[in-house]
Amino acid sequence: MSEHAILLTALAILLLPLLSYAVLFFLGKKLPRQGDWLGTGLLGVAWLLSLRIFARFWAVGDPGLRIEGGVRWLDLGRFTADAGILVDGMTAVMLVVVTTVSFLVHLFSIGYMHGDRRYERFFAFLGFFTFSMLGIVLSNSLLFLYVFWELVGLASYLLIGFFFHKPSAAAANKKAFLTNRVGDFGFFLGILIFFTAYGTFNYFELFAAAHLDPLSGGLLTLAGVGLFMGCVGKSAQAPLHIWLPDAMEGPTPVSALIHAATMVAAGVYMVARLLPLFDPNALLVVAYVGAITAFLGATIAVVKTDIKKSLAYSTISQLGYMVMAMGVGVASAGMFHLWTHAFFKALLFLGSGSVIHAVHTQEMPLMGGLRRKMPITFWTFLIATLAISGVPFFSGFYSKDAILAGALAFGMTKTHYVPFLLALIAAGLTAFYMFRMVFLTFMGKPRDEERHHHAHESPWTMTAPLVTLAVLAVVSSGWRGPSEGWFSRFVAPYDMARIVAQAPGAPHADEVHAVPAAAHDEHALPQEPHGEPAHVEATHEAPAHGEAAHGDAHDAHVRHQAHLTAMVLSILVAGLGILVSWLTYVRGRISAPAVLARLPRVHHVLQNMYFFDEFYAATVYRFTLWFSWLNGAFDRLVIDGIVNGMGYLTRVLSWFAGLADRYVVDGLVNGVGAVIQGAGEGFRRVQTGRVQSYLAYACFSVLLLVFVFRAL
């Protein structure tokens, strides 16, 4: 597979969902089965192509290798922008995540959305969403990243509000869109700062330029925080996480897609991709925001009784982990968690969808005892729960462990222990609330006999994705951490020396450079795939050192220590969480209402999600309303005053003009008439009609003339 073939394959992966969207949008109603097979099939092809690229990069095993290609998109003299595709290890991983989850969600939706009035439209939107996300993943410039970023926002708007006849869904998609706009504002500012400073949107040209000639301190931090704001909005980080729980109003497959593969992953991917553009101060902000989000999400998830809401806060918490990983310098661990999380979180959402489909409620207190009724759903859900809780030998353990180790090492080297502690508490809480969910939903006695009686296992289109994802939830980690396992073949810290060496001296001036950028250097792909990594750079750190790209031996030592400590601690807190959950919800040794009754304040705060919505209602909304009122008052008083004043002035002037017309113009006209009439009256008397009098006038006139001329 040559570079050209890889680029074309990537392009095909990008365009297949778009094709699905276009066909289903315009022709969906006319196709047999409303075209669900088409959307699912095209996604299946995209998935296979993604696996092909994935396998290719696996074979090469060089995370620094990248293949770029593009065309000149815009040429406005000094300003040029290219539309390009970038494929490297991270892209390959993301392609597999996106297409796998999207494909399975398509498959699941065939059962779940069966009989919906806008069935074909749903599949069209799924295709559009997948297309937008793939655009983010494949873009090689900030400009197109931003374009697809906004397309994802639009697609999420369409899908969250898919049941737009429900007022809550209509409000939720508006909220998601507007909240994202707040983050995107900062994102755009960050992009503009970098473009203004370096004159290019291309990632790697920017990296090289920023590496050789960094922006002065404050501006770099500002730009980094700006970029991160985009992530805060898209990846639902505190304090802009409020849209995500409300986004549960969308159909459950959409939740799975948003939470596992597409929208929220975009922010994490963006930070990981643009990591060289963040300076240490910005990364500190990232670490703290991530840790706080992880903690907030986990604590709220504990008290939620709505299964999807609880999962939504779980997602917020896990995203906090990933973002924190970016901040504490273990970006590959964050990407690894994104990878494992995509599968088990999609599984959890689809599993909850299967449950909701069966019992027609989202309230866990109305469920219970579904284990025997829905065995496949139960076992797959349990596997996902074990994975997210961080039980050893399940995928989530390895990724979460790597993040916690990174956070601890960060704490030890930088003396910022808060992120690690928050993340550790969140890990324990995660185990607790996830098992609470399993126990409340599947174990014990049915609390609503009526619903339990009607519950049944879902059809194969729904259970097949569950089983597939369950397998992936176990094996996707490969039982090794991100820095020593197979994942290091795909994602590793950027090798700045190599990026700088590959960067063109100046931006290309030629019109079209379809030639892949990597073709210029000596690190071209070998034509024959073979297992050995093709080029192991001398500058590469040994994979075992993981993220210590710019660390020293001491740091490596700290990391090694941190790794063991973090692993032991994370197993301990996870076990503790599971134990407490078991004691509470299975054995009944701890009474949840009693505990909550003894902590009324805490319960109140958690039940109201830390009053974020109320806070925004009291500040942002109120300010907006007040400001709108002020603008309205300004309009009413000043603008309307000016307009009405102009009107009044015009009327007065018109009255004067009327006067002038009436008396001057009309007076002139009538005066002329009157004078002429008067003159006519006078001359009429001269014209008697008697020839003799005329003759008399003639005679006298002649006499007069004679005298006159005599006088002359």
Binding site: G689, R690, Q692, C699
Partner: protein
């Protein structure tokens, strides 16, 4: 006392004045025509007098002869009009014949 140019001109002026007076004051169309004859004859007298005393040629006499012919033609035409007028309106008073004015 010799009869000079001024005597002729005085008689002529008197004739003209009488003729004009008749033309301006008479309401009878026939009397009016008679006034016109007086004016024409006053002019004739002038022509002849100037021819005799100033010019010495015969052009003035010739013009006078023409004017006499013209006066005869004019009288014929005018009397015909007066006859037609009388036939139409039953009067020769020029003041009552004013249909065009209305």
């Amino acid at each position: 006392m010799t009869v000079g140019l001024e005597h002729y001109l005085t008689v002529s002026a008197l004739l003209f004045g009488l003729g004009l007076y008749a033309v301006l004051t008479r309401r009878n169309a026939v009397a009016l025509l008679m006034g016109v004859e007086l004016i024409l004859n006053a002019a004739n007298l002038n022509f002849v007098a100037f021819a005799r005393f100033v010019d010495g040629g015969v052009e003035g006499h010739i013009v006078a002869a023409f004017v006499i012919v013209l006066a005869a033609a004019e009288a014929a035409v005018a009397l015909a009009i007066v006859l037609a007028m009388f036939r139409n309106f039953g009067t020769v008073n020029v003041d009552t014949v004013n249909r065009l004015k209305r």
